[in-house]
């Protein structure tokens, strides 16, 4: 059996077996679950060969699976996060309800994502895409909170995307006569112009939904926030990247042949930019960590979309690098939220506070990941941002630079809010006996955080697969050597050399720390956060020293005009209107049998009157 099949089938079998193993032993189930993820992952990295196609026919449709260098890059992300989050899940789901359900859908989602990456024809692509959708849908509604709202919204938007894609797929079939992706790419330049425009747009709509591009992003905040956090780290970290995966393929292989391609790219890029801005602003306004990170994910995906839509070689590298980084740090951050939720029972900033000394390792993960998120050198996040800005400037998208930079700066606000909200600030009595998260949760978190640091120093680790992947898509190879040195440079010859920067930063940091810390260590003592100077007055016991509510109120007041109404609101109104119309039209079925008979007679008479026109010779 081919190893690609084997991997997919192992996941499927693993899902079923794991789901039922819970009947006998919880420990066995956990073990099987980890194995069900790691064995295929190991197989993938050791056995799968590039560009080897397996074809077979199903229902009269020729299907092909295989691995390209481009999907290899995404597969790294999926499996990395998949394995990390699986280990984390074992700790996170311990003692929670619906564990079997969770494991089943988790494995199915990972399988579907790998399947998408393996697919070399549109039908397998779509099949895996939809499996991914419904498996993740089942995860979103898993907690049972607001399922009719959040879950349905997720599904409706997924369906909009998937059906747009399906429409494109059947149109493609009408043109080429089969469903193979490569055949379509080859015939695309010779299509009629209308189809040439319509098909990529439909595909892009499909991918934009998963990539949460405005205005199709409204499902994302709720769905990310209400899934189990251990899944959200995959959901936001890897699953959303499937949209990016598709978009890049469309941009590179299709739109480059289209005269209007540039316009479409610009529109998408601007949509991405608006997503980044609006989502960032909403993230700042959130008081719930899950929602904050959810909006933040949408915003970060916005940057990635900008980058891949611009589509210069450097922008592509930037976008894909950021996609990978986002997987790492957002995965870790969602895990942090999960850990806090597990240990305290809530994720509300206004309730939890001062956990830094209770959960130091969790805090460390959060700190590193937040620094990566904010794009501050020397971590990996900066490299992506840097390449993004440089490529935007070089490709004359100046306004986009401003917009992207604005949202990136504004991201500092919520980044700070996240750290401050959970870990800093007053240490309240209520959380005095919170313990550090279990080791199974800490290890994957820290591993991802280390990944962020590692990619800051050695971006070539991941730039190399990206580069290979882009070249295999037929992308021009002007940056072929980029990853060989750790030097980033733009076409104007300006550069950032990472190693000395990192040394300088570390050197100064350690020196200063030594200066303030080591000389004082013996003589200072730790005092609690209650023991603070308040302009000479001693705070009384009942005085509130916790600053939590309306955290960024001044800023939010400044940006109030753009945040008056969420896009959500328009969709809700639209949906409610539609439902009202449907509710009205179904009154055709009045309940009176005689009316029905009358319909029949009238229908007959109308047809008889129309006869010549209706059934023309």
């Amino acid at each position: 059996m081919n190893v690609i099949f084997l991997i997919l089938i192992l996941f499927l079998v693993g899902a079923i077996v794991t789901a039922f193993a819970g009947k006998w032993s919880s420990l066995l189930q956990d073990g099987l679950f980890i194995l069900a993820v790691t064995i295929p992952a190991v197989l993938f990295f050791t056995q799968v060969e590039m560009n080897q196609l397996v074809g077979w026919t199903r229902g009269g449709i020729h299907l092909e699976l295989g691995l390209t260098p481009f999907s290899y890059f995404f597969a790294i992300l999926v499996l990395l996060l998949g394995v990390a989050s699986a280990i984390y899940s074992v700790g996170f789901m311990h003692g929670k309800a619906r564990k079997s359900y969770y494991y089943f859908n988790y494995l199915l989602t990972i399988m579907a994502m790998l399947g998408i990456l393996f697919s070399r024809d549109f039908i397998s692509f779509f099949v895996f895409w939809e499996i991914m959708t419904w498996a993740s849908y089942l995860m979103v509604v898993m907690n049972g909170t607001r399922t009719q709202e959040i879950g349905i919204k997720y599904f409706v938007f997924s369906a909009i995307g998937a059906y747009a894609m399906l429409m494109a797929i059947v149109l493609i079939h009408a043109q080429t006569g089969n469903f193979l992706i490569q055949d379509f790419i080859d015939t695309y330049p010779s299509l009629a112009h209308g189809r040439q425009i319509l098909i990529p747009i439909l595909l892009l709509v499909g991918f934009s939904v998963k990539a949460a591009v405005m205005p199709l992003h409204v499902w994302a905040p709720g769905s990310y926030a209400y899934s189990p956090m251990s899944f959200t780290s995959v959901f936001s970290g890897a699953l959303s990247k499937m949209g990016i995966y598709g978009m890049v393929i469309v941009f590179v292989t299709l739109l480059s042949h289209l005269p209007e391609g540039g316009l479409i790219r610009d529109i998408i890029a601007w949509m991405g930019a608006m997503t980044a801005v609006i989502a960032t602003l909403w993230a700042i306004a959130q008081d719930d960590a899950r929602k904050l990170l959810a909006y933040s994910s949408v915003g970060q995906l916005g940057y990635i979309v900008i980058a891949v839509a611009i589509g210069t070689p450097m922008a592509m590298l930037a976008g894909l690098f950021m996609a990978f980084m986002h997987g790492l740090f957002k995965g870790a951050l969602f895990m942090v939220v999960g850990a806090v939720e597990k240990q305290t029972g809530t994720t509300d900033f206004t309730k939890v506070t001062g956990l830094i000394r209770k959960m130091p390792w969790t805090f460390l993960t959060a700190l590193i990941s937040i620094i990566a998120l904010a794009g501050i050198p020397p971590l990996g996040g900066f490299i992506g941002k840097w390449m993004l800005y440089e490529s935007l400037i070089l490709s004359d998208h100046y306004l986009l630079v401003i917009v992207a930079f604005f949202s990136s700066t504004a991201a500092f606000l919520y980044a700070y809010k996240f750290l401050f909200g959970f870990f800093l600030g007053q240490e309240e009595e209520e959380w005095a006996d919170v313990k550090e998260a279990p080791i199974t949760m800490l290890i994957p978190m820290l591993a991802l955080a280390v990944g962020s640091i590692l990619l800051g120093a050695f971006p070539q680790l991941i730039l190399k697969p990206i580069n290979n992947g882009l070249i295999s898509l037929g992308f021009s190879d002007s940056y072929g050597k980029l990853w060989e040195t750790s030097t980033l440079f733009n076409e104007w010859g300006d550069k950032v050399v990472l190693q000395p920067i990192i040394y300088a930063i570390m050197g100064v940091f350690l020196t200063t720390l030594a200066f303030t810390y080591f000389r004082n260590r013996k003589r200072t003592r730790y005092v609690s956060t209650k023991d603070i100077s308040t302009s000479g007055e001693i705070p009384l016991a009942h005085e509130n020293l916790t600053f939590k509510e309306n955290f960024f109120q001044p800023f939010l007041r400044a940006v109030e005009p753009v945040m008056k109404k969420q896009i959500d609101w328009y969709y809700r109104e639209f949906g409610a209107g539609l439902e009202a119309i449907f509710n009205f039209t179904r009154r055709i079925y009045s309940g009176n049998g005689q009316t029905y008979a009358l319909y029949a007679v009238i229908f007959l008479i109308v047809l008889l009157l129309l006869n010549g026109n209706l059934f023309g010779q």
């Binding site: 059906y163 029905y596 209706l614």
Partner: protein, 493 residues
């Protein structure tokens, strides 16, 4: 040849008369014999299907009278495939209700099983017959047994539903008679093959008039848009398995009749457009009406109507791909909707009002039933890798191949509505708290077998559609090849 198509009609009719007599010997016969008959019909149709693959279509001439005068039964790949599907479903419905009606007295049970058997027989007859008037008779058999079965539960509003059904049915049969009459006066024959052969001679207006009367008449049974007012009521009030049989068997037969008439008998291009437009309207109206339903079975009913609309759209496309898609849709819908009706009935078992809210929290108490319902819901929405996906793909592909881009878009948009109302129910099953006054009822073992076998089909075909695509393709070929149909029947003359 292992048997004759006549047996499809003869055996059940004979059994129907024998059952009351046998019932006097041992009461259980009333429940068992219909099952045996249906099983026999299934075996027969499967063996005939295998037979015709090597020997070609069977045309059975009854009592030696040749086609123009006598009645004939045609077991072609197309009608054979449908017969197999119907008898299979009939058997499952019987299996499902075998114990389901345990608590029902002898008298009602007798009526129930006899009528069920007759309904299946009538539907099979509609599919097999090659004679227009004979088709009318079978339609009436189906309808009358349908009226009886609908009003089975005395204490509900079932009589109301049955009366509406009857009213529409009576109009339909009148119209059908008029249509048949016009054809007969013009062409002097009632044999469908001969009608098809002589159709070009017919006066254009007469042709259109007759077609309209027949379409409206059969449209009542086939649940096309302005004629389907009875359908939701009947589905709501009939016993669960009967709803399944209605949507899986009766409506399929009616759609078959519709299609046979348009594809084989008439040569009017506009009829395809009629199918397309009416199908589309049916689809849209039904799916949107289903969105806000409060009763589970009524929702399923509208969904069923909508799916039939889809099948009609597919037939209306008129190409071979379209016919293939339509047959696939009919097949998958019959299986999936039966699964939904079967499992849905248990989810709202204890409440006669069958409100959707009664399914709240049932996932915890009836895990397997709830899982099967979910499977059915996912399949009918068209999510891969379940069966519904392949049929929907075939439909969309056929529409796209015929350059009907707008149609593809409309179907997909309305499908989203469909997804919404199904998922709302699924969410209720699993994630809502059980209501205090609902009592979960465990399915009987027979019902479970019936549901599991349907679910197995949904899954297996979903992963391996090749099992049926060959059969469906042959059926589609058969329907498209009008000349061969005429030739095969008339050669028996």
């Amino acid at each position: 040849m292992v048997g004759s198509p006549v047996l499809f009609v003869a055996i059940p009719l004979l059994a129907a008369f024998l059952i009351p007599l046998m019932g006097m010997i041992w009461k259980e016969f009333v429940r068992i014999i219909p099952g045996l008959v249906l099983a026999y019909m299934l075996v027969l149709s499967v063996s005939l299907i295998i037979y015709i693959q090597s020997h070609g279509t069977i045309v059975e001439v009854i009592s030696g009278w040749g086609p123009p005068v006598g009645i004939n039964l045609v077991f072609s790949p197309f009608s054979g495939a449908l017969t197999t599907l119907m008898t299979f479903l009939g058997l499952l419905v019987w299996l499902y209700s075998h114990k389901f009606k345990r608590n029902v007295d002898y008298e009602p049970a007798k009526k129930y099983f006899i009528l069920l058997m007759l309904m299946v027989t009538g539907s099979v007859g509609m599919v097999l017959t090659g004679d227009l008037f004979n088709m009318f008779v079978f339609i009436e058999i189906v309808s009358i047994s349908g009226y009886g079965l609908t009003s089975f539960f005395v204490r509900r509003d079932s009589a109301e539903a049955a009366f509406k059904f009857l009213l529409m049915g009576a109009f339909a049969s009148s119209f059908l008679l008029i249509g048949i009459m016009i054809i007969y006066t013009q062409l002097g024959t009632l044999n469908m093959a001969e009608i098809a052969q002589r159709m070009p001679q017919m006066d254009y207006h007469m042709k259109v008039f007759s077609l309209i009367f027949i379409l409206v008449a059969i449209g009542v049974e086939a649940e096309t848009f302005p004629l389907n007012g009875w359908a939701p009521d009947v589905y709501t009030q009939a016993p669960g398995p009967i709803s399944a049989a209605m949507s899986g068997i009766v409506v399929k037969a009616a759609v078959y009749a519709n299609i046979r008439i348009i594809y084989t008998m008439y040569d009017l291009q506009g009829a395809y457009e009629y199918l397309l437009i009416i199908g589309l309207i049916t689809f849209i109206v039904a799916e949107t009406a289903a969105l806000k339903q409060e009763r589970l079975k009524r929702m399923l009913a509208y969904s069923s109507i909508g799916q039939m609309g889809l099948a009609m759209i597919a037939f209306g496309i008129g190409t071979k791909e379209g016919v293939y898609a339509a047959l696939f849709l009919m097949f998958s819908h019959a299986i999936i909707k039966s699964l939904l009706f079967f499992s849905g009935s248990y989810l709202v078992y204890n409440k006669t009002s069958k409100y959707i809210k009664h399914v709240n929290g049932m996932g915890k108490y009836l895990p397997i039933t709830a899982f099967l319902f979910t499977l059915g819901a996912f399949a009918i929405i068209g999510l891969p890798p379940f069966m519904g996906f392949w049929s929907k793909l075939a439909l969309l592909s056929a529409a796209a191949d015929s350059n009907l881009v707008i149609l593809v878009a409309v179907i997909l948009v309305v499908s989203i509505v469909e997804a919404v109302y199904y998922l709302r129910v699924v969410n209720r099953i699993f994630f809502f708290k059980k209501r205090a006054n609902t009592k979960p009822e465990k399915p009987t073992i027979n019902a479970m077998i019936a549901m599991l076998s349907l679910a197995a089909i949904v899954l297996v075909i979903g992963f391996y559609p090749d099992l049926v695509t060959g059969l469906i393709e042959r059926a589609a070929d058969d329907l498209m090849d009008k000349g061969r149909y005429i030739g095969e029947i008339l050669s028996k003359n």
